[in-house]
């Protein structure tokens, strides 16, 4: 609390105390009364202080209250709130404070302040997707207000203890860790001996003929690190979203980075059979404008959702912004698979990130950090990479935290909650969907 107020019973303010050229105090007092005996409390104040007249406002009619408050010299009792605004002569203020202190019906009294627009940074309620423009959920608003601070911080991130990506999605502020939630990463396998990752691997499987699950590429290891790298790596800042998630590492892409739809479908089935809550796919093939999504993937993704598994996939890296925006690739372009766009450190859309060029299914669902992403690399080392491939496992990790928070939640509800929790960005929904991913 600012100003010359101490304790619940305020001292005497200067009327019209300066705040620039605008007054801070109105000269009236706001009195919080014991709601059970508000009228008695008000009557006591009236006789002690010599209040001329008291208007009582009971209903919710804003017109009535406004009219009464605007009247000079009027005191107002908001009966249903147990709050009174008391106008006294300046020489009666001491009597008012004394009466307030001695009356058992008065809980607190303080000078009424002017409130100026823009004094308070209100949570932005602009939206970039088809969600309600106003949410009554206080936690949600508060979380978005924090995200706004992040958004205004700009590209200067201190990554000493935690990567910028985790800070941007607020993972470093979450108490959730994805404990016991299974997340499948379908990619080039994993460095099973990496000291940061060995502990998070639940199961591994290779769907590439002639190749073990061991990652000879680096792509899979990097993505798994972003999902479930440890809370406090020995020789690196924190870079994993869900440090206690259980990773199912499915190798569907060869060490050269190549795989077929058939291998990916086999990996999906394995993941669902293992109880994965999330399948993260930092992979895809480019499509042409006007091309329909692959029906086989869509059918499989729908069935996976019914069986409890959410699928997320990279939107694709074929754009060259500004100027060239290419459509979201497959399988991310399936309506039942979430497409993840990539953001720069300044939260602008990354130059390569694909956009919503095509119709149904071709939309971007959410955006996540995808440039300068530090994570694990084979050989017990680390590397920084960029791509929608790097953005996607941030979303998978966040979904693990949502799943941990409510283990019984159905997969479609899990997906919807994550999307609703995203922080709206100024970019078009065609580029960033619901906005910047935020963890619960």
């Amino acid at each position: 609390m600012n100003g010359p107020v101490s304790g619940p019973f305020g001292g005497q303010p200067e009327r019209a105390e300066a705040r620039g050229n605008e007054p801070t105090y109105t000269g009236r007092y706001v009195v919080l009364l014991d709601q059970a005996e508000a009228r008695q409390g008000m009557e006591g104040l009236r006789s002690a202080v010599g209040v001329q007249s008291v208007e009582t406002v009971s209903g919710a009619d804003p017109g009535e209250a406004t009219e009464v408050l605007a009247a000079s010299g009027a005191s107002v009792l908001f009966d249903n709130l147990g709050v009174a605004v008391v106008d006294t002569d300046p020489d009666q203020r001491h009597a008012l404070v004394t009466a307030a202190e001695t009356s058992s019906s008065v809980v607190a009294a303080e000078p009424e302040r002017y409130v100026y627009a823009l004094m308070i940074t209100e949570a932005e309620r602009t939206v970039t997707h088809s969600y309600p423009a106003y949410r009554s959920d206080d936690d949600q608003i508060a979380r978005q207000a924090r995200a706004e601070v992040t958004a205004h911080r700009g590209p200067t991130w201190d990554e000493t203890t935690c990567t910028w990506g985790l800070q941007a999605i607020r993972a470093n502020f979450s108490t959730l860790t994805g404990r016991d939630v299974k997340v499948c990463v379908l990619d080039t396998g994993v460095d099973t001996g990496h000291p940061d990752l060995a502990g998070c691997l639940e199961e591994t499987a290779s769907f590439v003929e002639g190749e073990a699950v061991e990652d000879g590429n680096g792509h899979g290891t990097h993505c798994i690190g972003t999902v479930a790298g440890p809370a406090d790596p020995a020789d690196a800042p924190r870079y994993g979203v869900a440090g206690d998630a259980r990773v199912l590492a499915g190798k569907v892409l060869s060490n050269r980075g190549s795989g077929t739809d058939g291998q990916i479908l086999a990996g999906m089935s394995w993941a669902v059979s293992q109880g994965a809550k999330v399948i993260s796919m930092s992979l895809g093939a480019s499509v042409e404008p006007g091309e329909l999504f692959p029906q086989t993937y869509e059918q499989v993704a729908r069935r996976a959702l019914r069986l409890g598994t959410v699928m997320v996939a990279a939107a694709g890296n074929e754009s060259r912004r500004p100027g060239v925006v290419r459509p979201v690739g497959r399988p991310a372009n399936c309506p039942s698979i979430l497409a993840v766009a990539a953001l720069n450190k300044d939260l602008a859309t990354a130059f390569f990130s694909c956009g919503a060029i095509n119709g149904e299914g071709g939309e971007v669902n959410v955006a996540a950090p995808g440039v300068g992403i530090f994570s694990a690399a084979p050989g017990s080392s680390y590397q920084s990479l960029m791509g929608t491939s790097m953005a996607t496992p941030h979303v998978a990790g966040a979904l693990a935290l949502y799943a941990e928070a409510d283990p019984e939640m159905a997969a479609d509800a899990l997906r919807d909650r994550m999307l609703a929790g995203a922080y709206p960005l100024p970019q078009l929904a065609e580029d960033v969907g619901s906005g910047l991913l935020q963890v619960p």
Partner: protein, 82 residues
């Protein structure tokens, strides 16, 4: 090698009704599909067949989708953009 005029062999992936998976897969075999992998849990399978037999697959009762099996390729390892 195929004869110049022989139809190409193509790879396909399919989604079928998972509640009668075995029955539909058997019908697909009769339609010319050489099944290479099956995922009854999700109702998907993959296989190969002569390109000219493709329309016959989609006509099999219980088939929800037929797509060409495409290859996904990541950028070269070492490329900063992944």
């Amino acid at each position: 090698m195929s004869e110049p005029d022989a139809p190409r062999t193509v790879g396909v992936v399919l989604a079928v009704d998972p509640d009668r998976f075995d029955e539909v897969v058997e019908a697909l075999r009769r339609a010319g599909l050489r099944v290479t992998a099956e995922q009854p849990l999700l109702g998907s399978l993959s296989g190969t067949l002569s390109e000219d037999r493709l329309p016959a697959l989609a006509a099999v009762d219980g088939v929800l989708a037929v797509d060409r099996d495409r290859t996904v390729t990541l950028p070269e390892p070492g490329s900063p953009l992944q």
